[in-house]
Symmetry: C2
Subunit: 577 residues, 2 copies
Amino acid sequence: MKWSKTHLHTLREAPSDAEITSHQLFIRGGYIKKLAPGIYTYGVMALRSIRKLEKIIREELDNIECSEVLMPMVQPAEIWKETHRWSEMGDGLLKFKNRNDHEFCLGATHEEAITDYIRHDLKSYKNLPMIIYQIQTKFRDEIRPRFGLMRGREFIMKDAYSFDIDKEAALQSYDKMHAAYVNIFNRLGLDFRVVKADSGSIGGDTSEEFHVLAESGEDQLMVSTESDFAANLEVCPAIDPVEASYGGGEALPLEEFPTPGLKTIASLSESVKIDQKNLVKTMFFSLSEGLEDDKSKPIAVLLRGDDEVNPIKIKNHLGLSNPPLLLTETEVQTLTGALPGSCGPVGLDIPVYSDNGLKNYKNFTVGANKNDVHLKNVNAGRDFQVTEYADLRFAKSGDKSPDSKGVLKAIRGIEVGHIFYLGTKYSKAMKAQVLDQNGKAKTIEMGCYGLGVSRTIQAAVEQKNDSDGIIWSKALAPFHVHICNLDPKDSSVNSVVESITSDLEKKNIEVFIDDRKERPGVKFKDADLLGFPVRLTIGGKGVKEGTVDVVNRSTGNKKQVEINNVSIEVEEILNSL
Amino acid sequence: MKWSKTHLHTLREAPSDAEITSHQLFIRGGYIKKLAPGIYTYGVMALRSIRKLEKIIREELDNIECSEVLMPMVQPAEIWKETHRWSEMGDGLLKFKNRNDHEFCLGATHEEAITDYIRHDLKSYKNLPMIIYQIQTKFRDEIRPRFGLMRGREFIMKDAYSFDIDKEAALQSYDKMHAAYVNIFNRLGLDFRVVKADSGSIGGDTSEEFHVLAESGEDQLMVSTESDFAANLEVCPAIDPVEASYGGGEALPLEEFPTPGLKTIASLSESVKIDQKNLVKTMFFSLSEGLEDDKSKPIAVLLRGDDEVNPIKIKNHLGLSNPPLLLTETEVQTLTGALPGSCGPVGLDIPVYSDNGLKNYKNFTVGANKNDVHLKNVNAGRDFQVTEYADLRFAKSGDKSPDSKGVLKAIRGIEVGHIFYLGTKYSKAMKAQVLDQNGKAKTIEMGCYGLGVSRTIQAAVEQKNDSDGIIWSKALAPFHVHICNLDPKDSSVNSVVESITSDLEKKNIEVFIDDRKERPGVKFKDADLLGFPVRLTIGGKGVKEGTVDVVNRSTGNKKQVEINNVSIEVEEILNSL
């Protein structure tokens, strides 16, 4: 492909709303262009990367005998009402009425559509297992779209759905998909991690995320220093490297003491000369599920002063649908008689959940439920009752890895895939059943498997770039080779360009030729910005000497190579990637 | 691919809302499944056909150096307001507000989106010519979707847009696209015609449609018996094979005569013993463009009693945006004093347009503008003035071909492509300009080029089928070969199936294997229904004798072939298609 014949326009500056590197590089390189917030046109080069990713996805899914279909993007309200997600999905689901006044939405996900698709077809356990997928444009009405394709409104996604006779079989399908995902991401040439994740509101209890690692990633991950254990911080078990204890020995008499103005753990610690980790903080949450709208049931959560409470762990521990909300200052005051900072568990008639880290804490200090007063020598059991000890804090670097191999360290990632064992949430609501081997109707067990296609492309750029531009992996690069033809009017240069291109294309190496009338500097800058793995510089001077410059985009290494050896040199660089 | 591992379910009966053969076969063969009216999921097999068509389209467009991009399906109102199509498109454009109360629509077409895309990039005549295309799902809110993918709401389309410095260059781009379309349709193995067409409201004055011929086609086409002239009936010039004349000689005295109850040309003809073609009928239309809403300017149109008036020709002749509407009975009575059936041009103070066919008519009969009375010996010029003679009737079989080669005959087609030279309608409204060679700003000349991807697939089925099912062309068939494995439990049969499959796949022949536990009759019926070009029947009896049945789906020819010769036989059949 020749630049002069292609619609491709680069920019020197990224617009001010491009906050992260990959977004800036995508705009500057002409990869994407905004039509509206979170809504982009994919240019020639971005589409080539996307098609390459799609091809890899198809190959790996076809390998495990998945069936590809294409479902509608516009979906009738009826199916969403069957699962109650018409209301539960909130405003992210874009709803509208058509000219005949029928309610529709834009597909943000396709659990309902696929369950409707199969429920009349699948009749017997003999039709199972079955995994169906599609690659499609979806729409989610993000309230604040940002980061380009990372959190856009319109995006391309591969979504797959598995159907099985029972949970055991469903988990086998899950494992098959897990393996296919690992193959896909391995082929992309990206650093990625599979992490344990929270299922959120989609249903089911087993789920894993696939993250492309990048410093600017939105998600914080905890990984083991010594094994492949990885979990999203949201759900990573928190285990002390050495069991913690404090204030051992006999329980001492409870004692109030004044703490005027000491509203934070830090200021209290400084004043009383006790390490933050040896103080105990009390947080209050409201459990409103299943209760009338204006009522809420408060709970207290205790944890060490230097730990952070993890509301998702509370949610999962108590089996809630959503993480509970913190009580407001006013609610805390009404409940305890004091403002946050002076509260504690003593004397309250509500459930008290304590983090595991406090199991061996005695004679500790908490707020007295009077403003500017704390209690010391507090002891669980004597001064208040612990409803239950549980893992309620965020894990942190240095914690023991849950697989007992090494310790945890924090890294950041971009979530590009998420796989779920769903159970029967959708199939039950939509009556998708088959007859089992005994001729008895059974609700189908499902799994769902998402992979953000447009997101992955940008995540790849976020992971690999430098100050000059993108550094594509071989698998996702729009082209393998970028030829800077420095003298497009010189016929001897053009014939070298043509013969090298022809040699490379015979080896299935894709070549892009910058044949514009531009200065060499402009061409080099654009080549670095676009970021294809190998750059060839072909100009009149080199051609006279019989040489071409070969540049490895990733290492920056530049080599003068004899014209006849160029295709071998290029192959070697590509094979090394 | 094995049937047992694929999501594919056929039906014995088509649902009652499937009115045409291709729709019925697509539903019965599991190719598509309805989610909502006009909104379908494409199954495994339909998607394979679609991908094949997409690949052919890409190859032909890439050959002429078009650039592929992917534009958004959700588009902001702003760009549609720039061209005034936000209101002009009517209810077919599905509009909605998002959670932030911004107005959007679903892309029914992308002239606005592409013009926005290029207007900041294209700066100089040096960036031209440029043709950009996409293959994408679009949405048109059809008031009455029907015929499956033929007139659906959600559909897949290839749309391309050309950008040039002047009209001459734009028509060169048009010709390039025309040639690419001819290549595409030639490769599909379908009978098709390129026909002159009306540009409708999209703008411009040059347009051609590509039609797949089929008896049940929605469009009536007129083609020459002796050349490749073809036009949509809507715009086909009407030329009498021999110049017509009537009532020659001197103008006779005008005379009223009673015609009680004779309201139709047929009854009048019978009563007065004059051939229908020698009577003159008068139609009244209202021209309301450019006038205030409640006003309309009426015109009369005269034509021979056996001709039909063509409102699109009136529109084009008078340069209107839309075909004019017929006056209602009441409006006719108010205007003429009589009901339709007794009206004529004499004594009316409105413009009178006469069809060319009446140029040599004298002493003819028309309504007298009194109920149940007609006038005879009417002569244009003496009794009323003709504003203008023009071609205002529909062409009919037997008319002279406009290229003077042979006569016209009527055939039916399904419109699957439409190409337009647009001029500057969109670029002017959206200020898409470049600097020309003299450094002067020039509005870009555009063309647009649609090809209905999902529609073409179904049109192919509508053209080629029989009472048993679909007959796919080689180019669009989901698979080339359908193997009916009659004894999937017999390992000797399975090994023959595997070795033949492997031989065929080495030749890039795609094989689908029916390995279900079903009776042979069921398998044969399904094979005919699905309609892949070659069927192989492999069973225990044949394998013992060393033979396989090879059936050509198109001819129905069946041949017993030695196992070793099967792949050669299959190749021969495929090459013959």
